[in-house]
Symmetry: C2
Subunit: 228 residues, 2 copies
DNA sequence: TCAAGCTATATTGTCGACAATGTTTGTTTT
DNA sequence: AAAACAAACATTGTCGACAATATAGCTTGA
């Protein structure tokens, strides 16, 4: 439970915040565990000042909860919270798809089609399936979010929600996703965006996320205790 | 530009954060202005430690932006950002209405009908019209959000987004809202929720917010310079 | 033996001071 | 006179120490 790799940011506080985010998302700092300021300060070799600022930021990201005069704890993952998280994601990312349908330039549309073709090739070759399944999936989604042009959507989704979502993925060993089905859905969404059909794009994105949610739910119900 | 009323919270940091939120939302600390740590620390009679933690929290709420080694500034209100904000609100609060249609107990439905009746009475008597127009409006919306049962929706909307929305209201003098039309829309939304028609409730809520957004937009375009 | 209260310990919250970075002012040079 | 450099100043970032609160362990009493 370590990996104290300095990320060299402008300020110690940001640096530590990023390290803590990584540590929590990957499970390096386990869910539900207490955040001890003296311990972490010693581990990272900093004082408690910037560390506390980082913790306040984590609270804002919803990765830890704080109680006055008691301290911070990493959130605990459970089914209800996961469903809650994906409800938000469905609403926001559906809206992002709608906006992308109006805003996305044709060059970016083409670029995304190329990306999906690459995913298709990965699947056909069965080569590095995991990439297409995880990173590739996020890649597509993040670019749709970017294309929405909404600064607040970008921040809420890319920087805040996705931390928790990745945390759920990391903590759910078995990922019974169906990459080919996901890719089909991605293509349908992109088609709608290319045709500037905002309503349809939103609808398809919401269904797509809802389906991913159900898959994750099944995986979680399967391994109720293996996730601790 | 003062009002240093202690709010007596468990911790100085929370206290100051709440005071700063109020000060920014009401315009006591003007939009775009620099947040000087020494100045504020002296004004509130605290040290810079808890003040900085409060500022980090404000950054998380999107009320200030920070630059490393330079400091924090209050956000600047403008049309694009307002439209962006209401886009998020439309997506999230639409989802809240949908969930409320499934979750809201009949007792709460009745209670909300009573609330709307009270608003109706206020309007008919033309007595304290401003209350029904502002506080009452928020009252209704916040209770729908509560009824969604989603902790994350409640937090995102009630605690984060609404701060910025209130800021826009405070900074836009002329509020050409049509309280009677708003009330009609509220009733329609509540009807859909009472009938457990989630799709309809979401649709109506989104239209309702979209309309409020357009009204605010007109008011802002009117007084482009009076809002500074 | 268990519960309640007290004491000792550890952790969080706050403070003032120092270091590092940005900003402003004044000077010099072209 | 304008631009570039330098020094003085102010602000932010970080630190270690102290105060306040919570937790753990021990003692006492029923």
């Amino acid at each position: 439970m370590s990996q104290i790799v300095p990320i060299k940011s402008a300020t110690l506080s940001e640096d530590i915040a990023q390290q803590l985010i990584n540590a929590i998302v990957t499970g390096d700092i386990p869910q539900g565990s207490k955040i001890s300021e003296p311990e972490l300060a010693k581990r990272y070799g900093i004082s408690r000042g910037p560390l506390r600022e980082a913790i306040v930021k984590l609270e804002g990201l919803g990765l830890v909860t704080r109680t006055a005069n008691v301290g911070a704890r990493v959130i605990e993952l459970n089914l209800a919270d996961m469903l809650d998280t994906f409800t938000i994601r469905e609403a926001l990312e559906g809206m992002a798809a709608r906006l992308a349908a109006s805003h996305m330039p044709t060059t970016e549309v083409d670029s995304l089609y190329a990306l999906l073709d690459k995913h298709q090739a990965f699947l056909d070759d069965n080569q590095d399936e995991h990439y297409a399944q995880q990173g590739g999936n996020d890649d597509f989604h993040l670019r749709i979010i970017q294309a929405s042009g909404s600064q607040k959507l970008i921040r809420l989704l890319s920087h805040e929600l996705y931390a928790v979502i990745r945390m759920y993925r990391h903590h759910t060993a078995d990922q019974r996703s169906d990459p080919r089905q996901a890719l089909r859905e991605h293509k349908a969404i992109l088609d709608a965006i290319a045709n500037q059909e905002g309503d349809l794009a939103e609808l398809l994105m919401r269904r797509h996320i809802s389906r991913a949610c159900r898959l994750l739910q099944q995986a979680m119900e399967q391994s109720t205790h293996s996730t601790q």
